[in-house]
């Protein structure tokens, strides 16, 4: 909470972005306390990793300082916030206490179904996974589509527009300098990356039994690639991971998800009714969930990596204008 207040008060945007990263990490550990391990994994990778880097790379272009202005309290803003906060506090007076087993959330029949029936019905111990991919499969399909759309949107806004203009892409100036200054960081980082990527594959494939699944694996994989990009520079990273391939993968993941649904229809079931996929309903369910999770994983990885690369590419195209600040952002993110 202190962190949040500090983030509101600070005039330095760099501090605000870093404080927000810390806030995310703290809330991720809070999720672990509240038994939500899948969520904690995602929040740690997304909040503390990806979104902080995104903010920093935006700031590298826009500058780190809020324009100084005469100190003025936004009375209306404070008033509305306090009023809304007061109303919400009043609302909580009727809410069940935290951890109350008789709360409506816990006693609703659907919660009981998910907890008691789903492990035996699907044969998958991790209740989050079948809930995500099967019981709420349409919802997840929609969410994946939203992620897909956001990726396309970022590409459309700040994508590789410059290259199509015929302006040559600037070469790797500044990236090698980073390697010289941070050799330890670079060597250690390169050793860590395979472990991160392997771990991502593990949580992708093992999501049925332990915490994990497509979304988690996607963000962890993307943060591994992001670390690589930070270490070797965007040009080198784009040589290894072709942006064109990533763009294809964005669509491929969503197609895999939708295609699984269509396959179910062809086989005589409803859309995303995986039970038709094998002779045995439970096996079909397993295949379906694996395919769908893979689709989600591919899309999420590709979208987040594309977004990061696009931001980095945009930053590079501006590096001439603001060389010091761009490097500062890369340093801040990596350390």
């Amino acid at each position: 909470m202190t962190i949040a207040v500090a983030a509101v008060r600070t005039k330095n945007l760099f501090e605000a972005a870093m404080l927000f990263g810390i806030f995310s990490l703290v809330s991720a550990s809070f999720f672990v306390v509240l038994d939500a391990v899948d969520v904690a994994m995602t929040e740690a990778a997304v909040g503390a990793g990806v979104s902080t880097i995104l903010m920093l790379s935006t700031l590298a272009v826009t500058g780190f300082k809020v324009r100084p202005r005469p100190v003025q309290r936004d009375i209306l803003g404070i008033g509305v916030s306090v009023l809304l906060g007061g109303a919400l506090v009043y609302g909580t007076l009727d809410m069940p206490r935290i951890g109350d087993p008789t709360a409506p959330v816990q006693t609703h029949p659907i919660a009981e179904h998910y907890i008691d029936v789903s492990p035996t019905e699907t044969g998958i111990p991790n209740m989050v996974t079948p809930l995500l991919a099967s019981y709420r499969g349409y919802d997840t399909f929609g969410e994946t589509a939203v992620v897909f759309t956001a990726g396309i949107g970022v590409l459309a806004l700040i994508g590789r527009r410059r290259r199509r203009d015929g302006t040559p892409v600037e070469s790797c100036e500044g990236t090698d300098a980073m390697g010289d200054r941070h050799r330890v960081l670079r060597v250690v980082g390169k050793q860590v990356i395979p472990a991160i990527l392997l771990y991502a594959c593990y949580i992708q494939a093992h999501g049925d039994f332990g915490p994990g699944g497509g979304f988690q694996a996607g963000v962890v994989f993307a943060s591994g690639l992001m670390l690589y990009m930070l270490l070797v520079g965007i040009d080198e990273a784009e040589r290894v991971i072709k942006p064109k391939v990533l763009e294809r993968l964005i669509a491929l993941g969503l197609l895999l998800y939708g295609g699984t649904g269509l396959l179910n229809i062809i086989q005589g079931g409803a859309f995303l009714d995986y039970r038709t996929m094998a002779h045995d309903a439970v096996h079909g369910l397993h295949y379906g969930i694996l395919a769908v999770e893979l689709g989600v994983g591919i899309t999420v990885t590709a979208v987040i990596t594309t977004i990061i690369f696009t931001f980095a590419g945009h930053m590079r195209s501006r590096q001439k204008a603001l060389p010091g600040e761009a490097n500062a952002a890369a340093d801040g993110g990596a350390s």
Binding site: S51, L59, V80, V89, D100
Partner: protein, 117 residues
Amino acid sequence: MDYLGLFNYWVFIVLMMCGFYMLLSARNLVKKVIGLNLFQTSVFVFYISTGKVDGGAVPIATDGVDVYSNPLPHVLILTAIVVGVASTALGLALILRIKDEYGSIEEDEVDLQDALS
């Protein structure tokens, strides 16, 4: 009445209002996005906390465990986090474009330029 059990909700509300205030009052667009994220994360924490059961275990079926926390909020928030980061990225991309066009990311300066043109 047991107010201690409600205390966590109040913390989320204060956090949420911090984010909300930041969203309303900040003139800098990046700060607005950070405020929005703060708001969003506190809603996530709120959701997850409703799924918690006293003495409940992580919702992965194991022998000998009877009480699990509710997996439904976990699923909702899991997808929401990833969608959240994607929309944040979209917002930041818009800010970069605004910076390209106007040369500033201060709301009032952008408005002024719009008024002048």
